[in-house]
Symmetry: none
Amino acid sequence: MDFHDMIQSLAVRNNNKIVMLVSDGIGGLPMTPGGKTELEAADTPHLDALAKVGVQGMSLPIKPGITPGSGPGHLGLFGYDPMTFVIGRGALEAAGIGFACGPNDVAVRCNFCTVGADGKITDRRAGRIPTEESAEVVKTLRAVKIPGVEIFVEPVKEHRFVVVFRGEGLGGNVADTDPQVTGALPLDPAAHDEAGQKTAEVAKEFFNQAKKILAVQPKANCLTMRGFAKRPNLPGYEELYKLKAAAIAVYPMYKGLASLVGMDLVGQPATLEEEVEVLHENYEKYDFFFVHFKYTDSRGEDGDFDAKVKMIEELDKAVPRIMELKPSCLVVTGDHSTPAKMASHSFHPVPTLIVSDLARTDACQAYSETESSRGGLGHFEAKYLMPQAMAHAGRLEKFGA
Amino acid sequence: MDFHDMIQSLAVRNNNKIVMLVSDGIGGLPMTPGGKTELEAADTPHLDALAKVGVQGMSLPIKPGITPGSGPGHLGLFGYDPMTFVIGRGALEAAGIGFACGPNDVAVRCNFCTVGADGKITDRRAGRIPTEESAEVVKTLRAVKIPGVEIFVEPVKEHRFVVVFRGEGLGGNVADTDPQVTGALPLDPAAHDEAGQKTAEVAKEFFNQAKKILAVQPKANCLTMRGFAKRPNLPGYEELYKLKAAAIAVYPMYKGLASLVGMDLVGQPATLEEEVEVLHENYEKYDFFFVHFKYTDSRGEDGDFDAKVKMIEELDKAVPRIMELKPSCLVVTGDHSTPAKMASHSFHPVPTLIVSDLARTDACQAYSETESSRGGLGHFEAKYLMPQAMAHAGRLEKFGA
């Protein structure tokens, strides 16, 4: 029996709310073996109080030893096996700018490049043309028209932009047109399979029209296309969990990922405090809330241990206002660890806390890596966290008689 | 996505070294419930010091409740699912005498037997003919010649020997010729599939020639053939992990297993002390070192608790000299447990310690079963230990963006 089929058959609707508070990259490392992690060094009285009545465990984002990117990290948290549901590069880039790909969309990462009179590439990144300039050039490409296909052209950063082709029968299996070297012509888009054939033709037409438009641009007179991808074919939250789900996030990437699984994007918060207010405002309208806090990851990526500690303390301060809502199940976790010591995502598992009237309280006295590693939830793959949350909110029926 | 494909795509080359110290059968049991295991009774100051800064967990060689033989036990440690990659009996027997089967080899376990004038078996084990006598008879079989096939005939112990056929197009799927009862003729080798057909013909020709040669032998005048097997088709360490790997072992079985996954066999050590010196001598030439210590298993198999404790203390004494090399990742583990109380391999999980600058130190204060069972690595299948070691040595890149 497929696990998703099981979840789908057992999920029930009721009024019990689930709040999943994701502190990006929260897991850490001691700067010196034997020392304290960022989370252990932080003063977190509210989370620690919840730890005493809740239950903790270690969430493994993918498999032991594997460091996840944000895409697979969040897919796991949302309950999808990140080794089964892979988000192609184009779809991830689109998600990253908050563009929600639909089922008929093929997303492509594009790079501006410069070519000589012979059409051969002289700079594969168009001199990393500044973002503002690039965005203006990107907009000129919206003039491209192809019958039967809707086209979206969106700036990203510097020479990078996203093109989405929307239409019936467009497959995602098309080769990159970037030859990877200068002195070569951009490649023709080549289909890897039959479904990719129509996309390849559309892409070629797009390229031809775009090239004419770009001819007048001194800095970025051509483009290459990479990572053609459809959105992963995954069941949404409503279908899978019978949950009306809302995503509350500041950054486009996390909004994009949430929209891939069918969450509504609510509010326009700019801070964690504002995110919690958006949660309050929308609390009656939804069953499930994904609340994303970015800065634990950002300060970890900076390699700044003390700044990450401060961000964890910020997180802690938001907890009482969340708990005013008395959710049936509060989950506190992260999509991966980002130890300041490594200044990057890491493979270490993520301390995870569930607070619920149905939690079987364990011996943990604080929310921390050391405590979580011996907690009542054990060590589990992140994809099993959603079923745990559902169960702790009384939203999963018995399997079998 | 297949896990090995993922590992292969994420593995990177660098200069970070991994030492995997495998103390065979190290896990144990208290002689009386509630007492101490061999490891807990042993005085192990060096391992305990490492436990305070490292991270521990419980390695499950195969699945809960399953007792592994040395073959599957080591395959798991080397990162191959022992339920997917099965080493056929012939290939394991060959490995056991340190014979490295190549991709065109079919290995067969042979038994000397005795037959009467009618050709029917009178003793299936040729009276367990003594090893030295048997070895002399085995050598006479090297006179067998078959066009297009290279043949290796190697003694094992008592009535047992190994035959390896090397040649193009030889399949391993051939039935045993041992009828399993006395009073019956040895069976003709029968192919189970088309690929086995040529092997069956070769085996029949070998049997016919061998029988003539053995006719003059009073004690062992015939043979049976069992466990036809090709080596498992597994990716080697270089291909899978991008690791140049060395095996340092005293016993042929472990050298054979290591060679199946592409490790180089280095040195001719006879003691643990010599193994550690071989490690020092070869340290610059390799990325990964499998160091095998046999005697914890041997004394466990003897049912001698105190002697196993002493062997664990020997192991501990070797640790400082290993740590002089400052490996990026040291793993201390076993391929299975061998409790003296059971005088055999057992199903119990194996205490496992990782020491690395990237280890998330847990609360463990000693290297032991009790501490390991609550360690930061959790309980995991042995096949995930290599990815953990790779990650702790900074040799795996991020999955997804």
